[in-house]
């Protein structure tokens, strides 16, 4: 999902393509946009915010943003700034499994490389950082940390933070500063896609602070991880460094079964609650947000589905357009399903192979034969 179109451009396209040259339906489509976007996002696209929250240690809670639609993943960050997964609370029915960073559509070239997909699908991390102005007034900035890669294979890290401005040695202002750092260079093919090589994987993982190649168990608290005596007190586990790298980029994580260090969601869906002995100060929360029309960006891959959704929502409640609504409804449903398959191509393919393998593989192991005959 590397390319996006602003909502207003998508609606102009829809007006043009549907013959509404004077854009008389623009307002109607705008009114439907939020509903269609929420419907598509929660069921098919699953694009989320990834934000760091400071835990209130007096209450062991964090306040969720007012425009939060749902929380589905919580991670913690260690003292080196590396994110580690938390196990989901399996008693929370509102938790949603989300796989956006593992989707193969992050690369505009559809190269199919895992590394390329993970880097281009890297989700920016939003956090609020505070400082004061020269007159002592507190000021807060919404800072964005992101990583990107250019066609030459250089991986960049962009960090924002408050910076004090000095003029002739006198502190005159505090502004939001953006710092860009070149992290490393990896091997790319002729299209600029990151190749799936062992060297690239090591380069990237080391750049992200992941240095164990044999699976990464970790535990303890914010300052003690693997190889630490306290590692057994917690039971996080990542099978490979690539899986850990995926977590850094924002993808869903797997943990050992039975891990019970849970968070909870307040009944009013406004707070996350952590255990009293929770050792970390910050948590990374991935959550769906309600987006304002002016900030709404539609992924190019979902543009056609979104436009059909607008037509469906715009006609569904109009008694004079029930015929059109039926057509648009069926088309919207088909396109949503197609989009879901496209976004989860590999996941769906793996499931298909598991459920309905295309060939019968005979077995010469005795007990397998028994099972086939129903004797076992």
């Amino acid at each position: 999902m590397a390319r996006f179109d602003p909502l207003f451009d998508v609606i102009d396209s829809l007006c043009l393509r549907s013959g509404d040259i004077l854009r008389r339906n623009k307002g109607l489509y705008l009114d439907c946009s939020t509903d269609v976007w929420v419907d598509l996002n929660l069921t098919t696209i699953k694009m989320a915010n990834r934000q760091l929250f400071q835990i209130n240690k007096r209450t062991n809670t964090i306040d969720l943003p007012s425009n939060n639609l749902g929380v589905f993943s919580v991670s913690v960050m260690d003292h080196r700034g590396v994110f580690w997964p938390m196990w989901l609370n399996d008693s929370l029915h509102r938790d949603l499994v989300e796989v956006s960073a593992m989707k193969d559509c992050a690369c505009e070239n559809k190269c199919g490389y895992s590394l390329c997909n993970l880097i281009k699908g890297y989700e920016a991390v939003v956090s609020t950082k505070s400082d004061i102005l020269p007159d002592g007034t507190p000021v807060s900035f919404k800072c964005v940390d992101r990583k990107s890669i250019n066609r030459e294979g250089f991986l960049f890290s962009e960090t924002q933070y408050p910076q004090r401005v000095y003029t002739d040695g006198v502190w005159t202002n505090t502004v939001l500063h953006t710092e860009s750092t070149k992290i490393c260079q990896v091997e790319v093919d002729e299209r600029g896609c990151v190749c799936d090589t062992h060297e690239n994987e090591n380069l990237l993982c080391h750049a992200f602070g992941i240095k164990n190649t044999d699976g990464i168990p970790f535990g303890g608290d914010g300052n003690s991880f693997h190889h630490d005596p306290k590692v057994d007190t917690w039971r996080y586990y990542a099978n490979s460094q690539l899986e850990s790298f995926g977590v850094q980029c924002g993808s869903f994580h797997n943990c050992r079964d039975g891990f019970r260090n849970i968070y909870n969601i307040e009944e009013g869906q406004k707070k996350l609650i952590f255990p009293p002995h929770f050792p970390f100060d910050k948590v990374m929360v991935r959550w769906y947000s309600d987006v304002e029309l002016n900030n709404m960006q539609i992924p190019i891959i979902a543009k056609q589905t979104f436009m059909t959704g607008l037509q469906y929502f715009a006609s569904e409640n109009n008694d004079k357009k029930q015929g059109q609504a039926n057509v648009y409804g069926q088309r919207y449903s088909r396109q949503k399903w197609g989009l879901l398959l496209e976004l989860n191509k590999y996941t769906v393919d793996e499931m298909r192979m598991i459920l309905t393998p295309p060939v019968y593989i005979p077995s010469y192991i005795d007990h397998h034969k028994h099972r086939e005959r129903g004797l076992f």
Partner: protein
Amino acid sequence: MILLILADVIYETYERGRPLATAKTYGREDIAMFVRMALSNKMVLNYYGTKKLNEGDEYYITCALLSVQRFELEAPDSRGMRRADMSKFDLYRLPKNAHITNAYPVGCGGSEGASISMVQPGEEFFYQKPKFNSFKFGVPKGRGVNTYHLPPCVKFLDVESTFDSDQVDVSLDVAYDISREVLGVMLNVPFFIGKNPEDTYSQPHAQLRQRLTQQQDQNPNG
């Protein structure tokens, strides 16, 4: 040809038949007014004609009439509405406000860029919530346009519409239809009466066609 020349041609045709038509007299200005009314009527008929084509709403019929005029925006009222007063101009109005094709906000160091959308009267109620603050739109009401959500730096509105003027371009086919409408229906001039005149080979018809063709040839660009 331009509208004023067409009015002159019809006036001359009318003058030739006037003693036979009626004892009352119409001046050039009266005929020009008839021409405007007939042209407006013709545009509306063409609008409905294109609606039957099943190819979406098409507005090629208004091409020749379109022009852009700049209007100053008034100060905002309590709801943030700013009005562009267009009362100094007359318009050839079309159903569903189709006569306004674009409206460009001007100001903020040049132009605001994209055209704002026009909505139908009453619809503006739904877009006055904070959710739609980024939706810049206008509502044609009376002889003007009420605009909403335009930034304060926007001072003018460039409206592209079917403004009336003596220099409006009329094509030969439309000119012929208008001539027959004015002479036959509005003025009841003999030889032109009714939708299907009894003798289109008559001298007045021939003269009218000849004069219109001459004007078109002399002013191919209007």
